[in-house]
């Protein structure tokens, strides 16, 4: 039987506020255990949560970016369950009336298809703490520093029909929240966490199959692997005559498998009710307008502008706008004198390749955008050829100075004096009579041989265009 995959994602993004959503404790990552958990986070008797306005503004930005309905009035609710990393015995979340309602976002797949994925809602809530299970004499250690860190939980419609679509959607949301500056996007540190609901159904059937929920996915690579494993597991179950049980499953990256998380099954009765400690959140027109004015250029807008303003191909514009850091870098290269198209090639191929090889992030690049722009200028004004430019790039990378200094120090300036080039060509022709004969007899491919010889004589410094032109003229004589 042919099966259709149905996937919906719940993405928890930690909002990049300085302080917690309901208290003035710091949200900085990596502090000593429990040094950033105050009595509000710990839920001591008599404390009152007070809402952090930055968390609200960040949620608004996301809502605006996905064209969602923003609730003029939203409500915080208590989600009740017992777990040691949740000291109050409930999580403050939103249930009815979330701050961000229905919206949508477009994804682009590698084969060029475009698809719109519905966003059901996005709500504000507080994060829980962390449990550490190793080496506490049979007990668990609890660190509550993360407790109360603001989260925006973004819930999609079950609109994805393949694992590729699900990964593309998750990447798109990741790109968006980082662009918006509302989340640092660090998956290793848990700032961006994906839970996936997946089910299968026979092609053509309308009703959804029974779904399972996958948790503990902390990279896009693992997300793909976890979904693949779960998809196979469900197909095997159904084709073997069994049924899929609705449950939460944990992905174990070491074993590359998912396994049932039994303890949560029974507790799945959260008895939500409005939190009496918190009044309804009202979003006035003024706050909404302020959020709109603070919106940065979004990835899709930037991509379109790159295509029209810099006349880039769709593929180049897409690659260059994948991250805000790369887009900014590129624009600075162009502003420093690089030709737009050449700059696109250099940033996406040479620079990206070198960074990848060195295991560096763009922000750690040894070559500044200004230096790269300076190098590209020297290609544009024919001081050096594209080939020599790679050599210069390497020298700049190694800290040997700007393009002009490197060209000067290494004597890499291109030979454009046609008299000089002609002289070298004459020598090459005189030294290779046999090849000249063959060329004249119709073996056109030998042109490359002659160009190579000239370049060898000049250590690659002869202007390739001139060499070609003069060679052709002389050989055809």
């Amino acid at each position: 039987m042919q099966w259709e995959t149905v996937i919906g994602l719940e993405i928890h993004t930690q909002l990049a506020t300085r302080s917690k959503i309901f208290s003035g404790a710091s949200t900085a990552y990596g502090a000593d255990p429990n040094t950033q958990a105050c009595i509000i986070d710990l839920g001591f008797p008599g404390v009152l949560p007070v809402l952090n306005e930055s968390a609200v503004d960040m949620a608004l930005k996301f809502g605006i970016a996905v064209n969602a309905e923003i609730a003029p009035r939203s409500i915080f609710a208590r989600k009740n369950y017992f777990y040691p990393d949740l000291p109050k015995g409930y999580q403050i979340s939103q249930f009815e009336l979330p701050i961000v309602g229905k919206g949508s976002i477009g994804i682009d797949l590698e084969d060029g298809t475009h698809k719109v994925i519905g966003i059901t809602r996005a709500h504000l809530e507080e994060d829980a703490g962390k449990s550490l299970h190793e080496d506490f004499h049979g007990m668990s250690g609890i660190d509550l520093n993360r407790t109360g860190t603001p989260l925006l939980e973004i819930v999609s419609e079950p609109d994805m029909r393949s694992i590729r679509e699900a990964v593309a959607y998750a990447r798109k949301i990741h790109q968006l929240v980082v662009y918006l500056g509302i989340c640092d996007g660090n998956m290793q540190e848990g700032s961006f966490r994906v839970d996936a609901n997946i089910s299968i159904r026979p092609f053509g059937q309308e009703a959804f199959g029974t779904r399972t929920e996958l948790k503990n996915i902390n990279s896009f690579r693992f997300m793909e692997r976890a979904l693949n494993y779960e998809l196979e597991r469900q197909i095997d179950l159904i084709e073997g005559g069994d049924e899929v049980v609705q449950e939460t499953r944990l992905y174990d990256a070491d074993r590359d498998e998912t396994r049932s998380m039994r303890s949560k099954e029974e507790a799945n009765d959260y008895r939500y009710f409005p939190d009496p400690d918190l009044l309804p959140v009202e979003i006035g027109e003024e706050r909404l307008q302020r959020a709109r004015r603070g919106m940065p250029e979004l990835p899709d807008q930037k991509r379109q502008r790159f295509e029209s303003e810099y006349r880039l191909s769709a593929a180049d514009a897409l690659t260059l706008t994948l991250s805000r850091a790369m887009a900014d870098y590129y624009e600075e290269v162009v502003a420093s004198g690089g030709d737009a198209k050449t700059a696109a090639n250099w940033v996406t191929v040479e620079l990206a390749g070198a960074l990848n090889k060195a295991g560096l992030d763009l922000t750690q690049s040894p070559v500044s955008p200004k230096q790269l722009g300076g190098l590209l200028q020297r290609i544009a004004d024919n001081t050096i050829s594209g080939k020599i430019a790679k050599q210069v790039f390497e020298a700049i990378w190694n800290g040997e100075g700007d393009a002009d200094a490197v060209i000067e120090a290494k004597g890499l300036k291109q030979i454009t004096d046609s008299g000089q080039i002609e002289k070298i060509i004459d020598e090459v022709i005189a030294a290779n009579p046999k090849q000249v004969e063959q060329f004249k007899a119709g073996k056109d491919k030998l042109l490359g041989f002659f160009v190579g010889q000239v370049m060898k004589q000049t250590q690659g410094k002869a202007n390739p265009g001139q060499v070609n032109k003069i060679l052709m003229a002389k050989l055809k004589d």
Binding site: G24, A25, E53, R73, P84, F136, M139, G141, S263, P276
Partner: protein
Amino acid sequence: MSLDKSDVEKIAHLARMALDESHIDAYVEDLSNILDLVEQLEAANTDTIEPMSHPLHMAQRMRSDEVTEGDCREVNQAVAPKTENGLYLVPKVIE
């Protein structure tokens, strides 16, 4: 609407409350009476009434995003039954 014994046991479990077996019947009756009362209220026509999530007619105040709390670990952990290396220790819970 009335509850049975298993409902009460489930509610008690979700709230992590230990119930004395001999009290369960009384809880069944009390809680069922409360639900019956709510059912009576449901008979009232509320078409024109806006749902209320809080008895105060005010909006939530917000604070600016500033860190105002320092490290209070020592004070907070003074009442904890067991701690080690700055962590609270609790009976082992494993997924």
